[in-house]
């Protein structure tokens, strides 16, 4: 028996900001969930199960938040699951929810991811003072910056490419009312003049720290037929993992990322992603990861990713727009960031992305990674159902 087609019929986000002091964590997730239900014109009673995700518990100090959030998400008396795959969690959470529909376990599932970083300390949560071990010598940027340098050495990319990505994503964010950073006076010169934090990564090439939540309503074919607005259809979805550090790891282009993308493309019948995919929402917390992932995801040959960025191909009006929403560089509630990529991809396929809509986007990739390039999750969504 074939899988049930999965449709995205509701999407909701909070306006992402540095600190939402006016709401509890329950209030924050409720806001996104309510907007997703409203978009789908459904009520709590229409939801069969709830699947949520967030970054590690110690980021906010609420152990097992799924227990506390059951009331706010209308999950009482229903199955509720929590998914946990570090920074990729928003993507994996959506895929776990989608698989429940695809397997016909449930008809309609609410999936949601969040982070309230203003009440947390991610940096601290990631660097516990483990006895006998050498303290970590650099922050998150310091962890990734050497990989960026390795990419530049491997490909000969000029050192301006990172600033082009940041300049593009921050301008895209101005067209997205939910984005955290709205830097109206952004210029390329400003990005390039921003302080070098972890050389080769500049301040303006890093992501902000945000409070936010993102929710989606996923449903089966019958649910999609009742939906008030056009659905986005899942054409393929996959997750892969590998150790953060192991002998033979390619930190610049991890094998798990390549395998994950290949699986999604196989499911969706994509033979040439550059030709067959119209736009991408990819997880780019440091600007250089755009050219790196362009190669890892098969949009460019090895060593060629930066050329797409430099040529403007990934601009909003380019041939392969990347991070139309402004991306992680403009909005980063860590646990939600992966789901925002998935949801923004679905918004594009539905033709509902507003000012940052790519005209005629039919197939859009959503991508997330996390945990020192350890976890990958991706989905491809389209404007037409998989069998059409």
């Amino acid at each position: 028996m074939s899988k049930e087609p999965v449709a995205v019929v509701g999407i909701g986000q909070t306006k992402h900001v540095a600190a939402r002091r006016d709401v509890s964590i329950a209030g924050l997730v409720r806001e996104a969930a309510r907007r997703a239900l409203d978009d789908a014109e459904l009520t709590w009673a229409d939801i069969d199960a709830v699947v949520i995700g967030k970054a590690p518990d110690f980021f906010e100090g609420v152990m097992m938040p799924e227990l506390y959030l059951a009331d706010a998400l209308g999950a009482v008396g229903k199955p509720m699951l929590r998914v946990h795959t570090a920074g990729s969690v928003g993507g994996s959470t959506a895929l776990v929810a989608a698989n429940l529909v695809a397997a016909r376990v449930h008809g309609t599932v609410l999936t949601l991811a969040f982070e309230k970083q203003s009440e947390s300390n991610a940096m601290w949560g990631l660097s516990l003072p483990i006895p006998f071990q050498q303290p970590l010598l650099a922050g998150a940027g310091g962890f990734f910056a050497p990989h960026v340098r390795a990419y530049m050495r491997r490909t000969g990319a000029p050192d301006t490419v990172g600033s082009l990505v940041a300049y593009k994503d921050r301008r895209n964010a101005l067209k997205n009312p939910y984005a955290h950073l709205h830097e109206h006076d952004i210029t390329l010169e400003k990005v390039q003049a921003s302080p070098m934090l972890w050389d080769p990564i500049r301040y303006s090439e890093t992501c902000p720290s945000s409070d936010g939540a993102c929710a989606m309503v996923l449903t089966d074919r019958a649910g999609a037929a009742r939906a008030p607005r056009p659905p986005a259809w899942m054409l393929g979805g996959a997750m892969r993992s590998e150790p953060t550090l192991f002998a033979g790891k390619d930190a610049v282009s991890p094998q798990a990322g390549k395998d994950c993308a290949a699986d999604v493309y196989r499911q969706a019948g994509i033979s040439d992603p550059r030709r067959d995919i119209d736009a991408v929402e990819m997880y780019v917390p440091f600007s250089w990861y755009e050219p790196m992932w362009l190669e890892n995801l098969g949009f460019a040959d090895e060593g060629e990713g930066w050329k797409l960025t430099e040529a403007g191909v990934t601009e909003l009006d380019g041939d392969l727009p990347v991070n139309m929403s402004g991306g992680v560089l403009s909005t980063n509630p860590i646990g939600a960031s992966g789901m925002i990529r998935f949801a923004e991809a679905a918004l594009q396929a539905r033709g509902q992305a507003g000012e940052h809509q790519v005209d005629g986007a039919r197939r859009v990739l959503g991508h997330a990674y996390g945990g020192g390039s350890q976890f990958f999750s991706m989905w491809l969504v389209g404007s037409q159902p998989p069998d059409a």
Binding site: E60, A70, V76, G139, H147, R149, W198, P243, F246, A247
Partner: protein
């Protein structure tokens, strides 16, 4: 087997919490010696109040004043209170249904012993002398034999409301790095030798060793000394001062593949201006008197390693 290292690991952090409207009113009221519940659409009163109805998922905001006396619905004796608990002498954990409430609140009951506690007993709040707008404003409950008092409705609005709290989180662990890392740490500390382990299947040498190969999934035991010199495979220049590190910026944080190791470890590069560090630079460890690890690595003066010799380690 030699002794495996162990040490306490305390993980603690003062998390902040925004309360939202309902919890804000509840905690602000406690400061005024008032307990608020929230009324559901079908007329139940939930204490402590919640923002969303656990049955219907409705948003709740109808705050009502409940009693400061109530009835124990169930309990458990706590003979040995731990750090941070409401009382430091033995007490009962109790669920108390306050008068006019439909649900029970978890708290501590000050009682001389388990024989003095029973389900159905009447109890009363003992308020903390200094109240700040926190659940600890209720110091504990104590036995009470007065009749239930009439309760008035409270609108739940107060001057200077509490909008956030600090929630101290603390976990106490005993940490052990295990057999393989213990051997690695002791060889470094006592003999300043870097000793890794080779995987019997893929033959890769792991430094520090993990006791198992992460790709083959087999135990490792064959010890292999590596280094002491190595090659900088890649690096970044850190320009922002880390909170808990006493290192002057800028400094170079590098991935260093010790000679004979199949993956890089991380270290600081010194003895060379930061802007002259490069991929392929040959380095050796520099120790301080009492360090468990090299303080940093400095150039050996050898010619740089060819890119092809370390590109697989990036």
């Amino acid at each position: 087997m030699p002794e495996v290292l162990k040490a306490p690991l305390v993980v603690e952090f003062p998390f902040t919490r925004s309360l939202g409207p309902v919890q804000s009113a509840f905690l602000t009221a406690l400061r005024q010696r008032v307990v608020l519940g929230v009324r559901t659409r079908d007329g139940r009163t939930l204490v402590p109040p919640v923002e969303y109805d656990p049955v219907t998922a409705d948003e709740l905001s109808d705050l009502v004043h409940v009693g400061v006396t109530g009835t124990v619905t169930t309990w458990a004796w706590n003979p040995a209170p731990r750090r941070g608990q409401p009382l430091d002498t033995p007490f009962a954990w109790v669920l108390v249904r306050l008068d006019n409430a439909d649900t029970a609140l978890l708290h501590a009951l000050d009682a001389p012993g388990p024989d003095a506690v029973h389900t159905g007993m009447r109890v009363r709040i003992r308020w903390a002398e200094e109240r700040v707008g926190a659940i600890t404003d209720i110091a504990c409950f104590e036995p009470d034999d007065e009749e239930a008092a009439e309760v008035t409705v409270h609108v739940g609005e107060f001057d200077d409301p509490v909008t956030g709290i600090v929630a101290e989180a603390r976990l106490d662990y005993t940490y052990s790095p295990g057999r393989a890392q213990t051997a690695y740490i002791k060889a470094l500390e006592n003999e300043r030798r870097a000793v890794g382990e080779r995987c019997p299947s893929c033959r890769k040498v792991y430094v520090p060793p993990r006791g198992a190969c992460p790709t083959c999934g087999v135990a490792t035991s064959e010890q292999v000394e590596v280094g002491p010199a190595g090659t900088v495979t890649t690096f970044c220049i850190v320009n922002i001062k880390a909170k808990n590190l006493d290192i002057e910026v800028p400094y170079v944080y590098a991935h260093i593949a010790l000679d004979g190791a199949d993956l890089a470890l991380h270290g600081r590069i010194g003895g060379i201006p930061y802007d002259q560090v490069r991929m392929g630079l040959r380095v050796e460890p520099v120790w301080t008197e009492d360090g468990r690890y090299p303080d940093h690595y400095r150039p050996t003066g050898e010619p740089d390693a060819e890119y092809d010799t370390y590109k697989e380690l990036l």
